[in-house]
Amino acid sequence: GGGAGGGEEAAPIKVGAIFDLTGPTSDVGAPYAEGIKGYVAWLNENGGIDGHQIELISADYAYKVDQAEQLYSQFVGEGVVAFQGWGTGDTEALRSRIAADQIPFMSASYSANLVDPKEAPYNFVIGTTYSDQAIIAIKWAMDDWAAAGNEGKPKVALVHHDSPFGQSPVEDAKAFAEANGVEFISMAMPKGATDYVAELTRIQEFGANYIIIHTVSSPAAVFVKDAKAQGVDAKIINLNWCSDEFFIELAGDAAEGVYGVQPFTPPSVPVDGHKTPTEWAKANGKDVDVHFIQGWYTMDVMAAGIRKVIEEGKDVTGPNIKAALESLANYETGGVTYPITFSADSHRGNLGSRVYQVSGGQWTQVTDYITAP
Amino acid sequence: MLQVNNIEVIYNKVILVLKGLSLEVPQGKIVALLGANGAGKTTTLKAISGLLKPEDGEVTDGSIVFEGQEIHEKDAEEIVRLGIFQVMEGRRVFEHLTAEENLMAGAYTRPGREFREDLERVYTYFPRLKERRHQRAGYLSGGEQQMLAIGRALMARPKLMLLDEPSLGLAPLLVREIFGIIQRINQEQGTTILLVEQNANLALQIADYAYIMENGRVVLDGTPEVLRENADVREFYLGLTEVGQRKSYREVKHYKRRKRWLS
């Protein structure tokens, strides 16, 4: 158990983690994993949490759900008290299990299903949920439309990855759009396509003024390239998984001017919170991108919960960490995210994102935090 | 031309099939190899042509010498290039290729410019193949497939042709026709032939010399005239009774049945 004191002898705290380093999402999974591992290394180098080192027990699960289950079971057997997951697949698959085992769980899946403690009592969502991101995008679109002196409301199209991850914001975005009199369509992007001309054709017929893209970087890059080639003049807004550095690299010129809703401030927009991870990364020969930051601060929030447990002198157990996280209010991440707040009624930790835009080959800030209702 | 010296063949590293078999095929002759089912005739031919390997068979002792060159360790494709061509048991035509493409495959080791001429030559031996040249070989009748298999061998212009049961499944008339053609090929082209046959009667008619094998060994050899006089050959290979009459299958039944009761 934990307890006060904080001498050298304090017992290490075991945290489990599964990463996608070799699977279909490993392009972003790998830097995210580096962020988490980097944070733990940095924390331990700096005395851990009140003298308790964090022992990160991690492995690659290659985005295979049964592997995730197996590793989870093994790590819980080894005594982890909290868990860092990764994708939608594993987060959903482990949802019931973590509740039964009482293991607080964070991941990079920002599905709105996970924020209701009645349904997913041990899941904590650090990023702005996909639904909220989409709503923020629509909100901004309405403002931008009005600011440019246009009449009425803009038309918005949402194209998304053909998966639960992609589908996740569709309902909420649609409801929000309808409530605000915004004409809205959504469509899935076929897997592994080499072009999205068919989808763009439909979007043009619909007459969209704004296109929200909710997928990962490679297809998003193909999409914007096609949009440019087809002469589409709608403004494009990427949600977080395609508002990253890969997107700019892959889309090249076509990336210029694309907007992005991103809960985590990209390194190209320096804020205080970037300092520590950047310095640590430089010293350890790691690259810093937005996913690294994302992993780093996800672990930071988890550590904050654990710290609270220790400070309160309780045993470091799953339920205690859960309680501590639920009492976290306006936790500051040095400007990297909107202040994080959890409560016993809501695990929707992050209510706001900024809008960024690609300019000169990097992400630049356009707005301050916009919050979803 | 070809000497097989005391060879042993083992399948799958355990099954000993040929147990010190020797035979000789002189240049320009037809030599017949007779023997019961499972005696190892096909195995002998495959040992010569190098086709044992894909079946996990191996020559473990003895040697095979062709025109003064040891060949038993060579690969099949090399042996074909040296001039030995085996017509495999059961025809083995390439079913999805047309008849003519099968012949092209037969000419694989030959220079392309001779192709036309060789093709015409095969068609003179087997006019029926010419009619069917664009038909898929898989749909040819059994006899036509056998002709195709021999035709393929002709395309390769081998010095030594190994024929494995060419009469299998063929109608009597066709059997005689094929044997006639084999004889013609031997005479007109000077192709040496080693012939494996169940139909001992016919084989002995066209062969210059014959070997009889049993259980992996040669048990008897000689010219057809000599062999035909041998009592065992008469009874077991030619199916003749002691007085030279053909045995009746119907009578065999009663004879055998009596034997069954006795045992």
Partner: protein, 276 residues
């Protein structure tokens, strides 16, 4: 159950006809494959308990005729009628498995055994059409399913004895010598308790001794159990000795029919098939 059990003790014959009655009538069938005619108006009749040989040059359509009878090929014209169980089966309208159930069994030109099964299982699968146990009792191997298996095993053992293959009962057929495989194939057809047995070149590729054995088994089945046999064979010695009647095909047509002696003297047959 006991009544039926006694049924298995009956000879291998599944026919209900009296010897000499017409069992199969092929009426003017035509069969072509994409323009190439295989059968062009063949008619013939098979009588109960006879051995009918079909001969003819390669490609004459003999196998095609057997395939038409067993339902594998569908003639474009003509009918094939089969009499058994007091009814008339129009084979040209039936599926192969229905024809098998009606009492027609066969062997194949190139051995078509179930290579990875043991000899015993091959024979047991021959009795498929006579087994009745349902899926559920089979899954649980309950009373009826178990009793049925044991009863048929008994029946199959008789065939094993008849064909003199007890020693290889548990061997996988793929590993057997050619002659034995042909024997097993005959056994599998017999396990169907056929009324009519079709044999496609049962002795091809065999040596004299093996042919003698095979001839013996065929005659046993025919003479002692009264099973009607239609057989294709190129060895004229065999045909002459064991068949009651011979039909000769050439280019998809019947060119002669009669006793072996008559046929072997027929000039057309000599011209097309036997040679001078």
């Amino acid at each position: 159950m006991p009544l039926q059990l006694r049924g298995f003790r009956h000879p291998l014959n599944g026919s209900t006809l009296e010897p000499g009655q017409t069992q199969l009538r092929v009426e003017n069938i035509h069969l072509a494959f994409g323009g190439v005619g295989a059968l062009a108006g063949v008619s013939l009749e098979v009588r109960q308990s006879e051995i009918l040989a079909i001969i003819g040059p390669n490609g004459a359509g003999k196998t095609s005729l057997l395939n038409s009878i067993s339902g594998l090929y569908h003639p474009q014209k003509g009918r094939i009628v089969f009499y058994n169980h007091g009814r008339e089966y129009e084979l040209t309208r039936m599926k192969p498995h229905q024809i098998a159930a009606a009492g027609v069994a066969r062997s194949f030109q190139n051995i078509e055994l179930f290579r990875h099964m043991t000899v015993l299982d091959n024979l047991m699968s021959g009795a498929h059409v006579h087994m009745r146990a349902g899926l559920f009792s089979s899954l649980f191997y309950w009373g009826p399913a178990q009793r049925e298996q044991i009863a048929f095993r008994d029946f199959i053992e008789d065939i094993i004895d008849l064909l003199e293959i007890p020693a290889i009962r548990y061997k996988k057929v793929g590993a057997l010598a050619y002659g034995l495989q042909k024997r097993v194939e005959l056994g599998r057809a017999l396990a169907m308790r056929p009324a009519l047995l079709l044999l496609d070149e049962p002795m091809a590729g065999m040596n004299t001794e093996e042919k003698e054995d095979m001839a013996r088994f065929i005659l046993d089945v025919n003479e002692e159990h009264g099973v009607t046999i239609v057989l294709i064979e190129h060895d004229m010695g065999v045909v002459m000795d064991i068949s009651d009647r011979v039909v000769v095909l050439n280019f998809g047509r019947k060119i002669a029919e009669g006793t072996p002696e008559e046929v072997s003297k027929n000039p057309a047959v000599i011209e097309a098939y036997l040679g001078h």
